[in-house]
């Protein structure tokens, strides 16, 4: 028999994390907003019941918020990240192999456990008891089926949070009831194509000839069909794949008209990207800076600028990277009428990443370049006293470009100054 794969995911994870330290949020409609307070990224069941849709922009929700007393939060990834880590720690007590798939989803190997359903129920209870987060578990012979089982458990209270679909008969009974658009990896476009071919349910898709699947939706769809048939095509990845590139991109709180302000934002993003490089012990070979105006306002003057630069030698040094970013930003800045463009997004991308120790020497290097002690000091100080204790001067002080996060809850679990208070 194929080894059972489980996926556990948290119900409305961000909302659950907010409720942990503010129990008054229980049974009230709660929404969490995306970066820059743009749109809804998480909703409590009560908010869903009010008809608030995923992705709904905040400015369109003003009425429903004031009418029903919806509690609104900016996303607090510091908090969610810490709670997510704790949830994963509990999973690790229940499976030898846990793959962190996203901030609120983990795949795990449940091979060798006799009563899988009881095991999964105990895991749910432990996550709730120890971390206070409700989770649901789907079990099947492939990742795609496990996802599907999880989805069914989520939507039907009768499964009590755990659905074990290892039983073939259960799969055959349930798949005809699942719309094909609910299957993992089936996007809107593929769904439309499949509907045109008369494929409406997961069972229809399961019966699709693999050759046809490949021609309709490449090897990706072919794999989905095979996975629905119970043939594992997606392995359990325990090890995080080495990153080939990384990006730090942010919307600006207010439009940027001035080069110096743009460069402040670019400095901040580059600083963050360089920190991430060093955390992963990587160096970058290419740096790209890009920025653009608000595409959703076509009546305003539009401009998108982007420039890349090769870094030689490769680097993870904040000073060198910010220098390179400045060159890119200057080159990409509009040559004429620059003051008419309001830039609302800026970002930095780093590519050609290599582990620092594998970094090739340049022609004139005799020894491996030593890490810059100033950068080491920067990291140590910011680690000890909190992010942004020391920044480059070019990041500015006012930071008008900073993201809006007007409703962010305290960083309860990571800052002494933000501890929750009990009387």
């Amino acid at each position: 028999m194929k080894p059972p794969i489980a996926i556990s995911d948290s119900a409305n994870f961000y909302v659950s994390a907010e409720r942990l330290f503010e129990p008054s949020l229980k049974n009230t409609p709660v929404i969490v907003l995306s970066n820059n307070d743009g749109c809804t990224v998480a909703r409590s069941d009560e908010a869903k019941a009010l008809g608030i849709k995923m992705g709904a922009p905040l400015h369109k929700l003003k009425d429903v918020i004031s009418k029903h007393g919806v509690r609104v939060f900016s996303s607090n990834y510091t908090l969610y990240g810490d709670i997510s880590r704790r949830v994963v720690e509990v999973y690790q007590d229940f499976s030898p192999t846990v793959e962190v798939y996203s901030i609120d989803e983990c795949f795990m190997d449940l091979g060798g456990f006799k009563d899988r359903e009881a095991h999964a129920q105990e895991m749910r209870q432990e996550v709730l008891r120890r971390v206070g987060i409700p989770v649901r578990v789907g079990i099947a012979s492939t990742k795609t089926l496990a996802k599907c089982a999880n989805d069914i458990a989520k939507k039907n209270a009768l499964f009590d949070g755990v659905l074990d679909m290892m039983d073939r008969q259960l799969v055959d009974w349930l798949l005809p009831k699942v719309p094909v658009s609910d299957i993992w990896g089936i996007g809107r476009k593929t769904n439309k194509k499949l509907n045109e071919l008369g494929i409406y349910t997961a069972a229809d898709l399961q019966r699709m000839p693999t050759k046809q699947a490949r021609s309709v939706g490449t090897v990706v769809l072919e794999k989905t069909v095979l996975e629905l048939q119970g043939e594992p095509c997606l392995a359990l990845d325990e090890v995080e794949p080495q990153r080939k590139g990384m990006a730090v991109t942010r919307s600006s709180g207010t439009p940027i008209f001035d080069f110096d302000v743009l460069f402040e934002a670019v400095t901040a993003h580059t600083t963050r990207a360089a920190e991430k490089l060093r955390q992963n012990e990587l160096a970058a070979g290419t740096l790209t800076v890009f920025f653009h105006t608000n595409r959703h306002k076509p009546d305003r003057p539009q401009y998108a600028g982007s420039r890349s630069i090769q870094l030689s030698p490769m680097s993870c040094d904040t000073f060198e990277l910010v220098n390179a970013a400045r060159k890119c930003a200057l080159a990409a800045w509009p040559k004429a009428h620059s003051n008419q463009y309001g830039f609302t997004k800026a970002g930095v991308m780093l590519d050609d990443l290599l582990p620092i120790e594998k970094q090739p020497l340049t022609l004139f290097d005799t020894a491996k370049p030593k890490p810059n002690p100033a950068v080491e000091a920067l990291d140590q100080i910011n680690r000890k006293f909190g992010a942004k204790t020391i920044t480059l001067g070019s990041e500015g002080v006012e930071r008008s470009w900073r993201m809006r996060s007007a409703h962010r809850s305290p960083r309860y679990t990571t800052r002494l100054s933000d501890l929750p208070i009990v009387r």
Binding site: S24, E89, R130, V131, L419, R423
Partner: protein, 144 residues
């Protein structure tokens, strides 16, 4: 590595001169080297279950008699056993409170621990929930 100055030129006639640059350790190894231990970490001693322990800041005087003062940091373990007489965090009517868990006539109560001031007992209802058990207290005093 220290640098030693060569005071006068060294000459040779056809005999090769070799400079050995391998550092040579000198002096005595520390007799304590084999006996070194990690520093004491009382916080790690308080936290028995890192996954389920969360820090809160306590305000007020209702737990004065069990040594918990206004402004103390308290470690709260969600996995701690709920036993009668233990200091717990509980959620009552949507707000969080720290009290002693008591039982009288088969009913559970949250009781203060302060003989000086009067705080009422709160009866635990079906809607209330024990959030966690207080695992330890951390306090510091001014030095300057």
């Amino acid at each position: 590595m220290p640098v030693y100055e060569v005071k006068s030129p060294i000459t040779t006639n056809s005999t090769p001169l070799r400079l050995i640059t391998t550092p040579v350790s000198a002096g005595f190894p520390s007799p304590a080297a084999d006996e070194l231990e990690d520093e004491i970490d009382p916080i790690a001693w308080i936290i028995r279950h890192p996954t389920s322990t969360f820090w809160w800041r306590f305000e007020g005087n209702c737990l004065w008699d069990v040594g918990i003062r206004d402004g103390d940091l308290i470690a709260v373990d969600r996995a701690g056993k709920r036993k009668i007489g233990r200091a717990v965090l509980a959620v009552v009517d949507g707000s969080v409170t720290a009290k002693i868990l008591r039982k009288r006539d088969d009913r559970y109560f949250l009781a203060p621990a302060n003989k000086q001031e009067h705080f009422p007992d709160i009866e635990l209802t079906e809607d209330s929930e024990i959030w966690g058990v207080i695992a330890g207290v951390v306090r510091r005093y001014p030095l300057e």
